[in-house]
Amino acid sequence: MQNLVLATPLVCLLAALVAGFFGRAIGRVNTHRVAIAGVAVSFLLSLLVYIDVMGGSSFNGTVYTWATSGGASFQVGFLIDELSATMMAVVTFVSLMVHIYTIGYMAEDSGYQRFFSYISLFTFAMLMLVMSNNFVQLFFGWEAVGVISYLLIGFWYKRESAIFANLKAFLVNRVGDFGFLLGIAGVLHLFGTLDYAPVFASAPDKAGLLISGWHQWEWLTVICLLLFVGAMGKSAQVPLHVWLPDSMEGPTPISALIHAATMVTAGIFMVARMSPLFEFSETALTVVLVIGAITAFAMGLVGIVQNDIKRVVAYSTLSQLGYMTVALGASAYASGIFHLGTHAFFKALLFLGAGSVIIAMHHEQDMRKMGGLRRYMPITYITMVLGSLALAGIPPFAGFFSKDAIIAAVHNSTLAGSGFAYVAVSLAVFITAIYSFRLLFMTFHGETRMDDSVRSHLKESPWVVTLPLVILAVMSVISGALFMGPMLFGNYFGDAILVLPQHDVLAKLYQDLHHATGIDLRWGMFTHAIQTPTFWLAVAGVITAWYLYLYRPELPEKIKSRFEWAYTILDNKYGFDQFNQRVFAGGARNLGGWLWRVSDMRVIDGFVINGTAQTIGWLSGVVRNIQSGFVYHYAFAMIIGLVVLMTLFVF
């Protein structure tokens, strides 16, 4: 199995290197052939691994030790269990779809080869992240995907806004990564090792251990909170979410792959992976729960007022990530990962569908200039409908099962703040339905609002674009019903995820469902849903969207002018950006300017640097003169040296 596991990421790396270094030499067609072949092989290998793991085998081992320093060893190692095998399959599958789609989307771009190189490299880094068996490699993957995300957001590096967005993403992620790194340092300090297995094994012993000298701070709580700060950055949780909407400056395939389906879920994956630590800190779980609930609700609300098609989907991603985080906080890790998987399918679908629309509209992204597109792009339309139904959580589509499980799990949770979280995520269902159908209606229904020149060129996208859409749509429809039973209630994750009995909300849900129906869990889920508000909220959301954007399209304007203040708040995204821009960015720049003028120019440059340099330069000129060139001077120096040493040591 080791070779199989090793080969999975390495083929992607190889493809990335070939595409990157020889892309120009081998041409565009060969570049995408190489990249797609690499990812396809990687996907097949992941499937093999997945089947193998589901058959009961697992792998945990070190492949290569890079360095050992002070008792900690830095190594490349893989932990392949149910969790990582699932992630591998999802990541390589979505990546493969996006690779194929890119042929159509980037067809006219001059950076074609560069793009393929980046996304293959991304797949490699993401695989290294999820397959890791130690914190160092996790961090490597974590940073690597961050760098590639940075490169890809700024892919069109001549665009001012793209450069601003990638810098922003990078800086905000630095904040998160700093917490993450501190968390890793805490793990090393507390456990003395960075390998998962020993850390997880000894976590129960360390539960409740207080940090000496601090008031009532538990080690595990501090570590978990710091690790979660990392997850907040990568998975865009409030208040570190600000980079994700701006990341839409990157090409659409990237938004689908990195900023919806895979990289942003790394934080979710990480917390699920660390469940043996988080389980022992209810404080940390509560924080996770509340942050997730705020994100799910507040970010969904912003999605309603966006007019850029990609930004709507972006805010929807934020909101859905909030759902996953809530699941983690409620100790329903399995349902968090389940939602991660279904979300990867339908969100990639929605992004790629939006991309297909954007291609047809000649890179126009404003929904106010669209409308009535369903007549021109039937395949895109139908797949988008399926994706939206899945996102809104209408049964029997994938999103219904995964999202309802989360809501039911939160309902069962006994943590402080779970009541608040339950209300927030339930209301968010309503909002989700509104914005996703608003997007659908504004884009595909109603009257056409674009220019005649654009309209005359409207046509369905080529097959390389629609094929991934169709495949993803199929997955969006069936993946929920298919995997719900085993993933949520079966022993699917085995030992990969630890849930303490007092936190096991999913087991309670299982009892409820079992009582309700006796046998079939899917049917149970449905009957359970219609007895709770969530289902009706989703339906109400769809109807509201229909009423507002199709039946009475003039109404939104009226509401907007009536509730001007609320609209302004949402339009400004609660003012996070302005706040960061003024306080952090502006403050840091002022501080930096002051430090530069005073401490840098005067003290360091003037005195320390130039002063030392001048002194050393002068000294070197003086000492140089000792080298006179006369052999008797040299001999004399030797004798003096000898005499000095003798006086020092012998006498």
Binding site: S620, Q627, V631, A637, M638, L642, L648
Partner: protein
């Protein structure tokens, strides 16, 4: 006394000695007709004996010639390294000698005899054997330095080197004679046991130590016994500088291991303090004076002095970690020295020695690949990660920290920063300045270019195996004979 000859242990040396004599004859009779013959047979011989020595690295320690000669992993490793680097020296020098119409046959023969001397030093089990090897090396080197008879500088450098070298030899012999007087033996193991068992006069031992350390410092070029080094580096033909700068450092390491560690380790507290002084003076003076140089060979001479200061850090910590750190350092250093002087040779051509710093201006525009190699070399010399130069410095500094000489480590790091200046200046000249006059031309044969590329790239591609290399060095040190 039962003398066990065990001649097979010295097989590489015997082959080398025989071949050196044979090649001398070959060159005398066929040298003019087949100009390349001497060079290639020399290289082939060296590769053969390097292979022999390398194949013997992991075997058990053994003694031969009644204890005069050690056959242990350390000796074999150093010998393999010495032979290999000498072979590389010959390869780089071939074109250079050719272009200058220098009688090249003797160059190789002298080089081979020097290598023989070094390998005897590496395996010496007796003070006399060490001295024998040392003198064989030194005499070859005197001749090599003076090789370009037409050049005044070359002759002057050889003269200085000879006079000062003779003084250093005298000092060494004096130190050894005191040891002989105290212990009645010249065997390294014998001296070591004699000093451990009996009551000996501490002051007399320290006196002997001072003399021995001074002579070692002269060999290494540690301050204040370094005066010969810049003049000799600059004055010699670059081919000789290349030879002088690489393999003899390995031999000097062997000599230190045999004399100080093998024979006098019980007195390490005394020599530790002496080496601290030498190391700090070398790092300081070497780095400071290098800044003021305009000639690259002279700059590298001072850089060598500072490197020897760093190298001594490992030895002076007097632990196995320290010795292996120094072993690693000296090996890395010889690879770097080969690369740097190889680079100078690459750009030298008839009537032009690329030895002024300003000659390298604008290299980045005309020869991006060699500019990149130069960058790697300078980064490695300065100790910038991820080159091996960084790990070399890291390991010696760490070994000093382990014996809690924190202030020495701090001083070392500070001087490393000072040193970074003149290495980075080369990079600045290469990449950010424009060439004055005509650009550099590369006339060297393909073999040199390929070898130089491999040589320099080795500084970075071995990175994934760093752990193995360092633990291998430790293994070699722990299995030291004697």
């Amino acid at each position: 006394m039962n003398i066990d000859l065990n001649i097979a242990a010295a097989l590489p040396e015997m082959i080398l000695a025989t071949m050196a004599c044979l090649i001398l004859l070959i060159d005398a009779f066929y040298g003019n007709r087949y100009r390349q013959l001497t060079c290639w047979t020399s290289i082939a011989t060296l590769l053969l004996v390097a292979l022999l020595a390398a194949s013997d690295i992991s075997t058990q320690s053994d003694v031969a010639f009644g204890g005069m000669y050690f056959d242990d992993p350390l000796g074999n490793l150093l010998k393999a390294a010495i032979f290999l680097s000498t072979a590389v020296v010959f390869l780089y020098s071939r074109e250079y000698l050719e272009q200058r119409d220098i009688q090249s046959g003797e160059f190789y023969v002298l080089g081979l005899f020097g290598a023989l001397g070094m390998s005897i030093m590496a395996s010496a089990g007796n003070f006399l054997t060490i001295y024998l090897g040392l003198e064989l090396l030194a005499l070859s080197l005197y001749a090599l330095v003076a090789f370009n008879r037409k050049s005044d500088r070359s002759t002057e450098a050889a003269m200085k080197y000879f006079v000062l070298g003779a003084i250093a030899s005298g000092i060494l012999l004096y130190g050894l004679s005191i040891l002989y007087g105290l212990t009645g033996t010249l065997d390294i193991t014998g001296v070591s046991t004699a000093l451990a068992n009996s009551e000996v006069n501490n002051q007399a031992i320290t006196l002997a130590l001072v003399f021995i350390v001074v002579s070692l410092a002269f060999k290494l070029g540690a301050v204040p016994f370094h005066m010969w080094l810049p003049d000799v580096y600059q004055g010699s033909p670059t081919a000789t500088t290349l030879y002088l700068g690489s393999a003899p450092k390995l031999a000097a390491f062997a000599m230190i291991m045999r004399l100080l560690v093998g024979g006098l380790e019980n007195f390490h507290s005394s020599w530790q303090e002496m080496l601290v002084i030498l190391a700090i003076l070398s790092m300081g003076a070497g780095n400071l004076i290098a800044i003021a140089q305009t000639n690259i060979k002279r700059m590298l001479a001072y850089s060598t002095i500072s490197h020897m200061g760093f190298f001594l850090l490992g030895i002076l910590s007097a632990t196995e970690t320290g010795y292996s750190a120094s072993l690693f350092y000296v090996m890395v250093y010889s690879v770097m020295a080969l690369g740097t002087f190889g680079m100078i040779l690459l750009f030298s051509r008839r009537g032009f020695e690329a030895e002024e710093l300003s000659d390298f201006k604008g290299l980045g525009q005309h020869h991006p690949w060699y500019a990149f190699l130069m960058l790697l070399l300078m980064f490695s010399m300065a100790g910038v990660p991820p080159t091996v130069g960084f790990y070399a410095k890291l390991s010696v500094i760490r070994s000093v920290l382990q014996v809690e000489l924190v202030w020495v480590a701090v001083v070392a790091v500070l001087f490393a920063v000072v040193g970074a200046f003149y290495y980075l200046r080369v990079i600045k000249l290469v990449y950010f300045d424009h060439a004055e006059g005509e650009a550099l031309i590369v006339e060297s044969p393909v073999a040199n270019k390929v070898m130089l590329s491999i040589n320099v790239l080795a500084l970075i591609v071995v990175l994934p195996w760093m752990g193995e290399i360092i633990s291998f060095c430790t293994e070699v040190i722990t299995s030291l004979a004697g």
